[in-house]
Every structure is written in structure tokens, then in C-alpha cells.
Symmetry: none
Subunit: 245 residues, 2 copies
């Protein structure tokens, strides 16, 4: 199974949403992370121009949304439902952060549809609704202001799922590292040049070369960069001319 195909088994269920903009924001958040299956339970607003504007390039997700009368209807066929909530202490459910939950949600998605359930902007999810979900997901937040926007919460969860799937290490463009002897030759040439311009006194070198070595070591020289630095040193010497000592 293509790992990304697991995302097709993840549905986002928005319960009693009241702001059309949030429907659009949720759709956009989903699509940016590769999720497409949106369920709306008893929405308190329509998919209007504001929703479409906020969905931007994810209008297809919005238009494909399945509207349900009840949470049970939206959860039908799922193997796991996880509710996003800022509540925790008063509920007996297992609670996870998105990071803890993501691998398990994906594992479950290998066996069937998994639902991520988000409550209304004002009231969240009722106890009864929460109890229909097997897991709770708590997004870590500032205890003085935990109120994530609905679209933002969808974005965070969808992001975690995608990162976990991809174990997203973005490969950097590959450059060829300089060999030890190339880097050493460059540093020796730099040292000679510093002596020539009088910046480094061979009798009292202090910590200059160790400091510069440390700087170059931190960067890690590439082959092309050795060529650039040697070019600079050569050009500097040519300009200085043979009259200087």
C-alpha cells in the first residue's frame, strides 16, 4: 500500500460548525496535507461564498463534503474515532497529543476509515458526542489561551499525520563535500594570505587560525566552495601586486 493512500482513510468530521469561513479553512487545511474526506454533521451554516473564498484551491474538498444529520451517521463504517478537544480532566478517555496519536491513527487507517472529530466553535463537543469517540486528542497549547481556531486545529492534526507518514525529511540539494586535503590546503593558503596582509603575526598568532578553522568546520566546506575561496585569495593577491612585501 502506498503510505499516502492511508490518508484516504482519514475523514475529518466537523460537528455543528457555525461559521462558513471555518468550513473553507478546514477544507484548505486538509487538502494542503493530502486529506480529502470531509463530513459535516448538522452544520449551522451553508457552504457559501465566504466558505469557498477561504477554501481557495480546496473548493473540491468542500464540494465533496458529506452532510450528515448525526454524528453516528458520520462515524458509520469507521474503525476508530478520535475527538479533538481541549477538555481532558473530566473525561475518562485515553488522551493523546497529536504527535502521540498520529502513528496510531495511521496504523488504524490501514484497517479502515478513521475519523477525526471537531466540535462547534462555541461549544466544542458535548459529553455525549465525546463518548462516541474512542480517543481524545489534546493539542498542546498556552494554558492562558487554548482556543485554537477550528481550521487551525484541523491544520495541526492534518500536518501531524502527513509528517508522520512522510517522516518528512526534506532532502537538501546535494553538493559534493570537499576532501580533507582540499580543505587543509585552503586553510594553509588563507593563513599565508593573512600573514602577507599583516593581519596574522606568525610570532604571535594568538587564536586566530583556530577560530577561523572552527568557523569553516561549522559550515562544512563543499568542493565548489573551496574553488570559490581559492579564487578570492588569488584575486586578492593579484591586485596587491608584486611591489608589496
Amino acid at each position: 500500500m502506498n503510505p499516502l493512500a492511508l490518508l484516504d482513510n482519514l475523514r475529518v468530521v466537523l460537528v455543528e460548525t457555525s461559521h462558513p469561513g471555518n468550513l473553507g479553512a478546514a477544507a484548505r487545511a486538509m487538502k494542503t496535507m493530502g486529506l480529502t474526506r470531509l463530513y459535516l454533521v448538522a452544520p449551522r451554516c451553508g457552504i457559501d461564498d465566504e466558505a469557498r473564498a477561504r477554501a481557495s484551491g480546496a473548493v473540491d474538498v468542500l464540494d465533496g463534503a458529506v452532510v450528515c444529520a448525526s454524528l453516528d451517521e458520520a462515524l458509520a463504517g469507521t474503525v476508530l474515532a478520535a475527538a479533538s478537544t481541549s477538555r481532558r480532566r473530566d473525561l475518562p478517555h485515553p488522551a493523546h497529543t497529536p504527535r502521540q496519536a498520529a502513528p496510531k491513527l495511521l496504523e488504524q487507517a490501514g484497517g479502515g476509515p478513521v475519523a477525526l472529530v471537531f466540535g462547534s466553535e462555541t461549544f466544542g463537543l458535548s459529553n455525549e458526542q465525546l463518548m462516541k469517540c474512542r480517543w481524545l486528542i489534546n493539542i498542546p497549547a498556552n494554558p492562558d489561551y487554548m482556543s485554537l481556531n477550528l481550521g487551525a486545529a484541523v491544520q495541526v492534526l492534518a500536518y501531524e499525520l502527513r509528517c508522520t507518514l512522510a517522516d518528512a525529511v526534506i532532502p537538501l540539494p546535494e553538493f559534493e563535500a570537499a576532501r580533507h586535503e582540499e580543505a587543509e590546503a585552503l586553510l594553509a593558503e588563507l593563513e599565508r594570505a593573512l600573514v602577507e596582509i599583516g593581519f596574522l603575526d606568525p610570532a604571535h598568532p594568538k587564536r586566530l587560525m583556530p577560530r577561523l578553522r572552527r568557523f569553516f568546520a561549522r559550515a562544512g566546506l563543499e568542493r565548489e566552495e573551496v574553488a570559490i575561496w581559492r579564487g578570492i585569495l588569488n584575486a586578492a593577491r593579484a591586485v596587491r601586486g608584486p611591489s608589496s612585501k
Copy 2:
């Protein structure tokens, strides 16, 4: 140092934002994760009713925003600027996912202000703006639709920073990092010197300065190192003498 205090050293810099709703969404995203320092560079919209509505309980962050005329102004005093962008292949800077970047951003924040830079909704960040940032941050996304909403991108980065803080002991840097304007001044001086010695042709600069910027970005300049490099440039110019053109 209370680890959460590190969040006070993180500033969110929004460049040329055009939709007031996104200002509000960004403020709210920040506050939910404990960030408060918002900078607006040449905003193309005002902090209006829509911005305040979307900020919800984070109006204080919005009202505390520092409005700047230029990106340099917003980056003044920072020890590290990281740009959020979906571009990657055409740029030579180190690129990180939020998860890779978060521990390093927090580490740097132990030494001074760190900026997270976000471009405009339509155009993102210009090459010139990106070049002023030492790091790029790429949020992993659906390759068919990578367009995260601005507020959503701020939410993802702020969330990563908070999660990382929650489970990491942050080592402090042992050396004092150079400030943005110090590094920029050094690079400008280096560029002038390269023109003077004829290594850099201003009419055909090719990729020389981007390559050198990339090298310096990878190393990460310390304050003392800026002094060393400036000393070297000054010494080289003094030797070259007034007779050279």
C-alpha cells in the same frame, strides 16, 4: 531560564500581508502557542474589524504588533531569521522542516531574538527577502496543493515550537550570535571588496554572492567572527593601498 521564556524571544514577521483576516488568524495562532511578538512589514491592509474578529481572544497580540517599513527593520537585533516558504529547489539555503528546525530555533532564541518570516499571500517572499534570512523552513505538504493559508502556516510553526519546548532541555549557545544587521553589513563589505579586487563583476555577478551567503548561513556567524572577518577585509584593503583602482 524558564523554558517558556524562550518563546518571548521568537518574533513572527509578516511581510506585505494583504488580508486583515490573516493578521487576526496569525495573532490567534501565536497566542494559542504562547507567542506574542508580532511584526508587520509594510502591511497592505489595516488592523480592522475583520482582523480583530479573527484574532478573537488574541487582540492584545494584534494591538501590540510592531509595524515596520522594511524587512531589515523587522530583523534588526535578531540573531537568526528563518523564512517559511514552499520554494526550495532554486535556492541554496539550508532548508528544514518545522520539526527539524524547532529545536535549533529555540536554541538560538536562548541567545537573542529569532524571527520567523512569512511572505505575502499572493507572492510569498521575494528572492531578495529570502536572501536576508539564514534558514528556510518548508512545511511538508501535498505536492498537488501546497498552499497553506498564512495563519495556518503560523499555527503549524508555533505549534512545533511549543511541542518541542515541552519535551526538550534546551542547551544555550556558548557564543554570542551576530545580529542580523551585523551579518548583513559584513556581507555587503565582502561584496564591495570582491568587486574591488575584480573577482566579482557587478555587471555579471552570476551566483557568487548567493553561494557565499549560503556558506555563511550554514556556519552561522558569531559576533566575534564578524569582527575577525571585518578585520581581515580592512587589512586586505589597507595593504592593497590607494594606488589600485
